[in-house]
């Protein structure tokens, strides 16, 4: 990737795109002044200054003084925290589906994480700095999800969630179980004398990610979670908003599949209804099946269906980090959190806007010319 000369002049530090596979070079102090910043909670801040040092955010706010000698990036657009995709298949070495065994409670997605995979560069161009690697929902227990950065090979959380697919996709005809009923019987048996990750899930230490789609699967998953006292989120659940009361009662969050331009109107309204009910939610990306821009598109389509812009952005950043269990590390523009920041040419949910600068742990890892379309 080539850095335009114009941008290098703006950035006083020698910010060259880091090798994605290699650990990021330690970042020196940096200040960014953005015309507008969505920091993760409350209203947007105008003329917001963000001070960064050692990969973390040190200070945020309007009128924050930039210390002498600290390079300052002036940005006429909008600043947000780096986007978090709550479910993706990127950069996974080998498949994640074991067609011979339906239960893989000790399998770890972190072990399949391939940081050098070119998928991650594509994610960065869309402002996505963190992804939750999840197994495809083709095993009843698919393994333990991992939260990783899209640059620098950082594993933020090695054991994020236990993925459980009470889904028709996990019911293969040549492997036990072939039916929902037997899957439930076997899960109940495993949780009656739980070991390892299952014991941690049952004790509430490890959240579950319940991969389900139609309403009847959601209903089954809610009953299952209630029976065993499980915490976590539903994954998929396109019509979740139509069952918002039940889901709120369950205490589970929801990770929606990415929405495309051809997505069902009911699915978009479902997101709005769930948001109005106060249920935490986020979006998956499911790249490489989906384009990285589909994450932003998902929120934008929900805004079109009535979701407040702040709620849409929240679902891509702080809300997603909360569901992934890493809200103490990233997801907001807040003192002490990782300096994963995106500078947008305009409003982030305006699809004409582009991510012009992307920082991961305070290091500029992607930049694109503001006058010409971004290269993929």
């Amino acid at each position: 990737m080539l850095l335009p000369a114009l941008l290098t002049t703006l950035i006083a530090t020698a910010a060259t795109p880091a090798n994605r596979a290699a650990p990021a070079t330690p970042a020196g102090p940096l200040a960014i002044r953005a015309h507008k910043a969505y920091v993760g909670a409350g209203p947007a801040i105008e003329d917001c200054v963000v001070l960064i040092d050692d990969g973390r955010i040190r200070e945020v706010g309007r009128g924050v003084r930039v210390p002498d000698g600290t390079p300052l990036v002036e940005h006429a657009g909008v600043l947000t925290a780096g986007l978090v995709a709550c479910g993706s298949y990127d950069g996974i070495a080998g498949g994640t589906t074991d067609v011979t065994r339906a239960y893989l409670p000790e399998a770890r997605l972190a072990d399949a994480f391939a940081p050098a995979h070119p998928d991650f560069e594509r994610l960065l161009t869309a402002g996505i700095t963190t992804v939750v690697l999840v197994p495809r929902p083709e095993n009843v227990i698919g393994g333990v999800t991992a939260v990783v950065k899209t640059s620098g090979g950082t594993i933020v959380k090695r054991d994020a969630q236990l993925a459980v697919a009470l889904s028709t996709n996990a019911l293969l005809f040549n492997r036990e179980p072939t039916s929902y009923a037997q899957a439930l019987v076997q899960l109940d048996a495993l949780l009656a004398r739980p070991q390892g990750t299952l014991a941690r899930a049952k004790a509430g230490e490890l959240p579950v990610l319940l991969q389900v789609d139609p309403e009847h699967e959601v209903a089954r998953a809610l009953a299952f979670a209630k029976k065993h006292g499980l915490k976590g989120a539903l994954y998929g659940a396109e019509r979740a908003g139509e069952m918002a009361a039940e889901i709120r009662e369950s205490g589970l969050g929801v990770v929606f599949h990415p929405l495309g331009l051809g997505s069902d109107k009911r699915a978009r309204r479902s997101v709005v209804a769930l948001s109005e009910a106060g249920v935490p939610f986020a979006f998956a990306l499911e790249a490489p099946d989906h384009s990285p821009e589909d994450l932003r598109l998902s929120a934008a389509l929900c805004v079109r269906a009535g979701l407040p812009v702040e709620a849409g952005l929240q679902a891509l950043t702080a809300g997603a980090a909360r569901i992934a269990g890493v809200a103490d590390k990233l997801g907001r523009v807040e003192r002490g959190l990782a300096a994963d920041l995106v500078l947008w040419s305009g409003e982030p949910l305006d699809l004409a806007s582009r991510a012009t600068h992307v920082y991961v742990d305070g290091v500029l890892v992607h930049s694109a010319p503001s006058a010409a379309p971004a290269k993929d």
């Binding site: 036990e176 072939t178 039916s179 929902y180 037997q182 019987v185």
Partner: protein, 413 residues
């Protein structure tokens, strides 16, 4: 209308009168959506009588009075030509296909189909709007013993708690081609140790008999008991019926042999299209019979079994308990509401035809305490007709489920 020489009728009318007056008052006070006064030229109760020019009071989802006297005024009144109980289909076949039946064993007898159904399935609503208010859902016949069947309402809030009429109403079994057919490879012989068995009718029958023998062995030695033997023990002890799918004569005979060998107290033969060929055998087994939809070609169901027009009439004459089924057909002419008419075309009397879609299936599934007839205290599941029920010239103009008006006769003119 009121026959003063008929004591029971007179007493019921008198009781009904008082109850009705009270109910009308209470319904006015409640003004709920689930309370109605229904006036009908004929109320076919399916409990042994037909009330002419009668009234039916529904209060808060239940039938609270049935009377032959007319009332002046009332709350929300519906006036129709005829009322029957909501129809019941024991073999509705609305499931999630292979996701609703476990195939890692031929006898997943301890599994409940209720864990593998879709209450949002629009087919339930289609059944409801066509007058079917209660159905029994079974696992598809891809295992020899598929597990426990479930009785549920076709409408209402989509939760098992709200819709379930009774769990475990019958243990589902299948003989014939279906449970073995898919086990044979598409070409040649099974080429792996891991091929599923059985692959023949005999093999299917042996799996069934072995299951019962295992249950008998577990009676003598508790150490041999498993979840599966406990399921079969329920059937052996007569606590639940064995609900066995058998269409052709040979398969119906097999079902009867099984009954005789293990002295099964309760046997229901489903889809028994060819039961007319050897009815005496079925009579001796004490089995009740569910007939598949009559099709105009005669042949239907599995294995090309021939279903004669007079099957229902012939079995009824022999004293068998029969129920009719629509198998959730998408063909209007195959739906449950038209089956009694077709059976009547084959010679079945009206009352028997009515019973075959209401009280008989309710009794067979053991849910007649709540549904299956029009009687005080039962769920207000009702079908309203604009003429004589089941006749091709009549229409269903109203459906009530638990007192809720699903199809409104006032908008069906």
């Amino acid at each position: 209308m009121n026959d003063p020489t008929n004591n029971s009728r007179a007493i019921r009318s008198w009781l009904g009168h008082g109850a009705l007056a009270a109910c009308v008052l209470s319904s006015l006070a409640l003004a709920g959506d689930k309370s109605w006064l229904i006036k009908a030229h004929k109320i076919h109760t399916a409990a042994g009588d037909t009330i002419e020019d009668g009234f039916l009071q529904v209060t808060d989802g239940r039938i609270t009075a049935v009377a032959g006297v007319s009332m002046g005024g009332g709350g929300d009144m519906l006036e129709v030509a005829a009322v029957t109980p909501g129809l019941i289909d024991l073999s509705v076949r609305i499931d999630l296909g292979f996701d609703s039946v476990e195939q890692s064993t031929e006898t997943p007898a301890s599994l409940d189909v209720e864990n593998g159904i879709d209450l949002w399935d629009p087919r339930f609503e289609r059944e409801l709007k066509s007058g079917v208010t209660t159905v029994v859902v079974s696992p598809p016949d891809r295992a020899v013993i598929g597990g426990w069947s479930l009785a549920l309402k076709t409408g209402g809030p989509p939760t098992l708690e709200k819709r379930r009429v009774a769990p475990r109403v019958a243990l589902r079994a299948a003989i014939g081609d279906e449970p073995s057919d898919g086990n044979r490879p598409a070409f040649g012989q099974p080429d792996s140790f891991y091929n599923r068995r059985p692959t023949t009718r005999m093999g299917v029958e042996w799996v069934l008999r072995k299951s019962f023998y295992d249950a008998l062995a577990a009676r003598k030695d508790a150490a041999l008991a498993t979840d599966e033997t406990r399921a079969f023990e329920e059937v052996l002890a007569g606590k639940a019926p064995l609900f066995i799918a058998a269409s052709t004569t040979q398969d119906i005979r097999t079902a009867c042999f099984l009954q005789r060998e293990f002295k099964l107290p309760r046997l229901i033969i489903d889809a028994a299209a060819e039961a007319w060929k050897d009815p005496q055998m079925v009579v001796q087994s004490g089995a009740a019979v569910v007939l598949p939809p009559f099709s105009f070609g005669g042949r239907g169901g599995v294995d090309g079994a021939f279903h004669a027009w007079n099957t229902a009439a012939l079995l009824h004459e022999r004293g068998l308990t029969i129920a009719l089924s629509g198998h959730n057909s998408i063909e209007r002419g195959d739906r449950l509401a038209v089956q009694p008419g077709l059976a009547m075309h084959g010679g079945l009397p009206f009352d028997a035809a009515l019973a075959a879609v209401t009280i008989n299936p309710a009794r067979m599934a053991g849910i007649d305490g709540r549904v299956g007839s029009i009687a005080t205290g039962k769920d207000a599941d009702l079908v309203l007709w604009d003429g004589r029920p089941f006749e091709p010239s009549s229409r269903i103009v109203g459906v009530l489920l638990d007192g809720e008006l699903i199809v409104d006769p006032r908008t069906q003119k």
